[in-house]
């Protein structure tokens, strides 16, 4: 009896510990099957085929390979066909713990595993030198490569949507924040100036006096902001950064250190303007508690005069529905809260660190073909195939820019989901260059309701690369403290918005400052400053 229990336990232990080890090191890579050079991408010469597994760490991504036009072209060119695997963090954890990895892995750039990429990924620079030097020489963006080179001299993952300084110079990058107003009310009020605290409050008061009704017959609420939910990129509506971005609170101190934007005097002044608006009953009462659905319902019914959005990309549906039914009452972007001391509005666009990172793992069955695919998808040619298909078949070049065939463009604009399924262009986006696409398509890439607001952001969007990946490489202690401080800030901002007087605001702020101090803020700032310094070095 006893023996069998011990035996069982041992078997279980072996099962548990199996899977650790047995990973390929970069020195053991097989030789290239073709002669490579930096001027031609290897996929052009390598006629071999391969089937690779590509894991995407987002469970909403449910695309399959080979059913749409786009992936068929890619397979024809490169000989690679893909089986996509999808999942969320649980699955990724299990995969990493068991060591049973697919050929390619894509995850959010902030995922904790990114830090330890050297343990599961083969460096892309090593692979590229051996199999496809075109990746380093021509396909990838030099600035992005430099930014992603780690201290050990290797590049492990390549991002999608990485926007470099030269992308910003070439234009075509848009912000994601806007101050929207209902056009009809705004014009009825004589297009008031809402950039100063006084103008802001008096415009809201005037809007309330008008007593305009929304679709449901309720009086229009003078102002609402993005919801305070986890799904929103900014957890506290607009009070983590959007308000500060609008009033141009700097991100860095003059000597290039981390700047504490929350305690900035101008930011505090504007916070109190919002508190004032709350006290006067001008702001949405449910601002802090409402869900995304509540917010969508309000926008769909035109219930706000002004709506301060920290995530324009999340608003196309409600804005489209409202705008389509009431073209003369649509929401438009205007200049909103601005600095009282003359700072310029600075909106962030996608940064150099992009969104996701894609790795070729140590378990890759065919690292050569995997590298060729990465090179292909990263290159401008590959991007064109991914986004527009094949020249002469699905698009033509007009004024040096690819333009989709009219029937396809119509399909894309009227039935985006169907387009994605059948045509698939812009669907296989995990190594996409969004800046290139943006330049090629211009403002017409956005749904109609977002076009005016997106255009408005163009003048204010600016790179803030020094802060890229700011909190990815924190120590365990600091990342725990960061989470606690963020939570406390959420509570503080809620307390501030409900404050009855300015002194209550100040008191809540002081408590927050004390809390930060008690929870390792100094060390957190120090680590952030190290990251900023490292970024600056890589950006030079």
């Amino acid at each position: 009896m006893k023996k069998s229990i011990i035996l069982l336990t041992l078997v279980a232990l072996v099962v548990l510990l199996a899977g650790c080890g047995g990973k390929k090191t970069s020195e053991e890579l097989p030789d290239s099957t073709i002669k490579v050079n930096g001027d031609t991408p290897s996929w052009k010469n390598d006629k071999a085929t391969a089937e690779l597994d590509w894991y995407i760490n987002f469970d909403w991504f449910a695309q399959t390979w080979g059913n749409d036009v786009s992936s068929k072209y890619i397979t024809k060119d490169t000989g690679v066909s893909i089986s996509y695997l999808g999942g969320s963090d649980d699955k990724l954890n299990t995969m990493m713990a068991s060591g049973d990895l697919p050929d390619i892995i894509t995850m959010d750039g902030n995922n904790p595993f990114v830090k330890d990429a050297d343990k599961f990924a083969i460096p892309l620079d090593v692979l590229a030198k051996k199999y496809d030097p075109y990746f380093l020489d021509k396909a990838a963006k030099p600035e992005t490569l430099k930014f992603f080179t780690r201290d050990d001299g290797h590049i492990y993952g390549y991002p999608n949507f990485s926007n470099t300084k030269s992308d910003y110079e070439k234009g075509g990058i848009y912000g994601n924040q806007a101050f929207l107003v209902r056009k009809d009310i705004y014009e009825q009020l004589g297009k008031p100036d809402m950039t100063t605290p006084e103008g802001f409050i008096s415009a809201l008061e005037a809007a309330q006096k008008l007593g305009t009704k929304d679709e449901l017959g309720k009086t229009v609420i003078p102002i609402g902001v993005s919801p305070f939910t986890e799904e929103n990129p900014e957890k506290n509506g607009v009070f983590n950064r959007t308000l500060a971005d609008f009033i141009g609170v700097p991100m860095l101190t003059k000597d290039g250190k981390y700047y504490d934007r929350y305690t900035d005097a101008d930011f505090q002044k504007w916070l109190k303007v919002f508190v004032d608006a709350r006290q006067k009953g001008l702001a949405d009462r449910d601002m802090i508690t409402m869900t995304k659905d509540d917010k969508d319902a309000r926008l769909t019914n035109g219930s706000y005069f002004a709506y301060f959005a920290s995530d324009l990309n999340g608003e196309p549906d409600p804005l489209s529905v409202w705008g389509k039914e009431h073209p003369d009452k649509e929401y438009i972007a205007v200049n909103g809260p601005a600095s009282t001391i003359g700072n310029k509005t600075v909106l962030p666009g996608t940064s150099i660190e992009g969104w996701t990172q894609t790795f070729i793992t140590k378990n890759a069955k065919n690292p050569q073909k995997a590298m060729e695919l990465v090179t292909y998808l990263v290159s401008e040619y590959g991007n064109n195939v991914m986004n527009f298909g094949r020249e002469g078949e699905t698009y033509t070049i007009k004024d040096g820019k690819p333009v989709l065939n009219p029937d396809l463009l119509e399909f894309k604009q009227t039935d985006p989901a169907g387009f994605e399924k059948k045509v698939g262009l812009t669907t296989h986006l995990w190594l996409q260059d969004s800046a290139l696409l943006s330049r090629q398509m211009g403002i017409s890439q956005f749904p109609k309701a977002l076009q005016q607001p997106k255009k408005w952001t163009q003048d204010y969007v600016a790179p803030q690369f020094e802060l890229a990946s700011l909190d990815v490489y924190l120590s365990k202690e600091s990342s725990r403290n960061k989470e606690k401080i963020d939570q406390n800030w959420a509570q503080t901002i809620a307390k501030i918005l409900d404050a009855k007087s300015d002194s209550e605001v100040d008191q809540a702020m002081n408590e927050f400052i004390q809390y930060r101090k008690d929870n390792g803020y100094d060390k957190l700032v120090e680590e952030r400053n190290n990251q900023i310094a490292a970024n600056v070095k890589k950006l030079q």
């Binding site: 229990i5 069982l8 336990t9 279980a12 232990l13 548990l16 510990l17 899977g19 650790c20 963090d89 954890n93 990493m96 713990a97 060591g99 995922n111 904790p112 595993f113 330890d116 343990k119 599961f120 309720k218 305070f228 506290n236 009462r285 449910d286 802090i288 508690t289 409402m290 869900t291 659905d293 509540d294 365990k476 202690e477 990342s479 725990r480 989470e483 606690k484 939570q487 959420a490 509570q491 901002i493 809620a494 307390k495 409900d498 008690d518």
Partner: protein, 303 residues
Amino acid sequence: MKSTFKHKFLSQWELQVMVWPSIILMIVFSFVPMFGLTIAFQDYSPLSGFAGSEFVGLDNFKAFLGDKDFYTVLTNTLGISLMKLLIGFPLEIVLAILINQIRLGLFKKFTQTVSYLPHFLSWVILGGMITSWLGSTGLLNSFLLSTHLISEPLSFLSNANAYWWIATLSDIWKEVGWGTILYLAAITGIDPSLYEAAKVDGAKILKRIWYVTLPGIKNIIVLMFLLRVGSILGANLDQTLVLQNSSNMLRSEVIDSYVYHLGLAQGDFSFATAVGIFSSVVSVTLLLVANFLTKKLSDSSIF
């Protein structure tokens, strides 16, 4: 000795065949994973595995026991759970007895179905309903405003002090009907002749409930009570995540959501496991104490 064991084993092989699969399943799925608890004492990374991660002793335990917020979180967990226990637990018994008293068969079934229907809705759906009912233009405020009980809409969900009540009442509303099922089953099992005898002795309804029904379901009551005490530190993560917002976080953060925010969401599995071990130890202790007390007081217990 050996032959008697073999003999015994063979003589009851049918029983053994039934028992062993579950014992093996339990070893594989309940005991083997317990090796995972070692990560509470490590700086664990899934990439390095159990064998490769560095041992850090009690650091993870120190991290949360030294955290002032942890005591707020503990207070919230205990507060909400105790309220659910003190209000929800007796309510289930009362409701079961009331439903049992209904004479009209169809109406009885209807009442029971309606009362346990909310159990089948997930917290994600209920959360959305509750937030909209409690909103400034929601059901409750509209009612209070129209009856002139208040002149300004109240914001229930952003009032931290109201959160414990909202959590308790919404949980009771969802689960109270479901909780009556076992009691109803137990009540049906009571010998009808006892009621007849009580009636003959001149006992009115209340007396019959007190002297026949309650003693008849005493064992079930004790069992359910002990089970509830054992899970007092698990204050329903789903409910917390859907009803929590920045305004009520001070009163709504419970151990489970604390673990979720600071451990799992950060990929810090060691920390999450350490808190998990802590609450398991506390739960087992509470269960043992409650078991001991009920044994002393009422002479019935689960072990």
